[in-house]
Every structure is written in C-alpha cells, then in structure tokens.
C-alpha cells in the first residue's frame, strides 16, 4: 500500500508540474483557446497533443500487461454508451469552462498558488459535485 500511495503522490506531482509548465493554470490562455471567433490561442492543442501521445503509448503498453505493476488489476471504465447524461453533463461542464477558463485539474492544482478567486471556484465546484449526487440519489 505504501508503494501505491507513493506512486499516486508522485504521479500527482508530475501532473501538477505539467499543468504549470503548459500554461493550463492560466484561465486567460485557456479561454483564449476556446475563443475561436476572436483572438484564438492554439497553445492547448499542443498540450492535448503532447498529453494524448504519451498516454496513448502508456495505454498501448497496459493492454499487453496482465496487471499494473503495484496492484491486482487495471480499473477501466466499462460504460460505453453515448447517452443524454454524458452529453448533457459535458455541455454544462463546457459552459462553466468557457465562462471561467478553469477545469477541475488546473483549479485544484492552483490552490497552491493561494490566488483568492480559486477559493471561490473550487468550493463552488465541490458544491456542484455534491448537488449532482443529491439529484442522482433523488432520481434513482
């Protein structure tokens, strides 16, 4: 368990470093990427391209292995349906992302900077997550 905790911590640091270096922590740059009809900033294409290329190699390797190095099995999503919750949820997320230039990874990582607006966004995000859980429990 200590090995898995250490691995998770280390991978978290690498993720946060990558976000910091890539410019993803800068809401103006992220919003600029979404501003296709205005002053479009293509930087995020490079971020996504770099991330997906390396992750693609990692997942290709994972498919050839019987199990992960430190645990009993690979924990992969099994739901393959493209349905209304998937698309509706993604649309709501996209609206919030466009309004703020923030998505969950950069927002959580930016807590370290102590920037006051992040302490408005992240609590609101946690409330939104809890609200979905309540709605889901109510609707079954």
């Amino acid at each position: 368990m200590i090995a898995r905790l250490t691995a998770a911590l280390a991978m978290g640091v690498v993720f946060g470093l990558g976000l910091s270096l890539s410019g993803m922590l800068d809401p103006a740059r992220v919003q600029g990427f979404l501003d296709v009809t205005g002053a479009w900033d293509p930087t995020l294409m490079f971020v996504l391209g770099g991330a997906v290329s390396v992750a693609l190699a990692g997942f290709a390797l994972a498919r050839r292995l019987p199990r992960p190095a430190l645990d009993a099995r690979f924990d992969l999503p099994t739901n393959r349906r493209i349905d209304a919750p998937l698309l509706g949820g993604a649309a709501l997320f996209g609206i919030g992302w466009g309004l703020s230039g923030l998505c969950p990874g950069p927002a959580v990582a930016a807590l370290a900077t102590g920037a006051p607006p992040i302490f408005v966004f992240v609590p609101a995000m946690l409330v939104g997550m809890a609200a979905f859980r309540l709605v889901q429990a109510r609707l079954g």
């Binding site: 996504l48 430190l70 969950p104 966004f121």
Partner: protein, 138 residues
Amino acid sequence: MHPYLAGLTGGALIGLSVAGLMLLNGRIAGISGLVAGLGQDRGERRLTDLAFVAGLIAGPAVFAWLAGAWPEMRFVASLPVLALAGLLVGFGTRMGSGCTSGHGVAGLARLSPRSLAAVLTFLVAGMLTVAALRGFAP
C-alpha cells in the same frame, strides 16, 4: 521557452502522469472523478486518491521552486461568474462522468468513442460560451 513548446512539454508530463498511474496503480487519472471520490470512497482507494490530489496541489509549488516563479494566472471572470462556473463544472463533470483529464487525455488515449463524444461536446459548448461572452462584451 516558447508557449507552444512549453505546452507540448507540459502536456507530455500530463500524459506521463496519466500513463504512470495506469501502469503502476491501474487507475484512470481523471481529476473530477478523483476529487469526487474523496467524498465517496472508503479505505485504501480514498488514501491513494488523496495522495494523488495532494501531489497535484504540490505540483505548482515544485514548479515555482524549479522555475523561480509561480505559473502565470490571469483570471477572466468576476467572483459571481466564477461561482456559477464552478457549480456548472462540478455538476457537469459528475453528470458526464469526466472532464478534460479523464475524457480528454485518458479517454482519447484509450480510443474511447464515449470520451470522444464528451470531448467534442464540451469543446463546442466552451467555444459557443466564449463566442457569446465576446458578443455581449466586444
């Protein structure tokens, strides 16, 4: 460093983290799922999720120590708009089972059609939102 090169290198580090968490622990590095899991999971899974999130928060501090400056952050929204956006991001990422990391990086790298549909949807919604913002305040 040119922003595009910094983006590509930083992106590669993000990909390394996603690949590493899968190859080592067998887990998808989806931040919205990991953060929500802190309030739901029990036992070891909660601890490993907490360790990843703690590392994620430490990342910018490590960057500041290495680079000698904190990453640039220019906020674009007022506090009420940030609060509304936070609610939408939290609710939407749970309803849609993922965000930019889980669907955008891990999902696309797994060649998942479900994740591709989510990514296209949140990109288009984000672009329309910014276009509307610019339209209202040119």
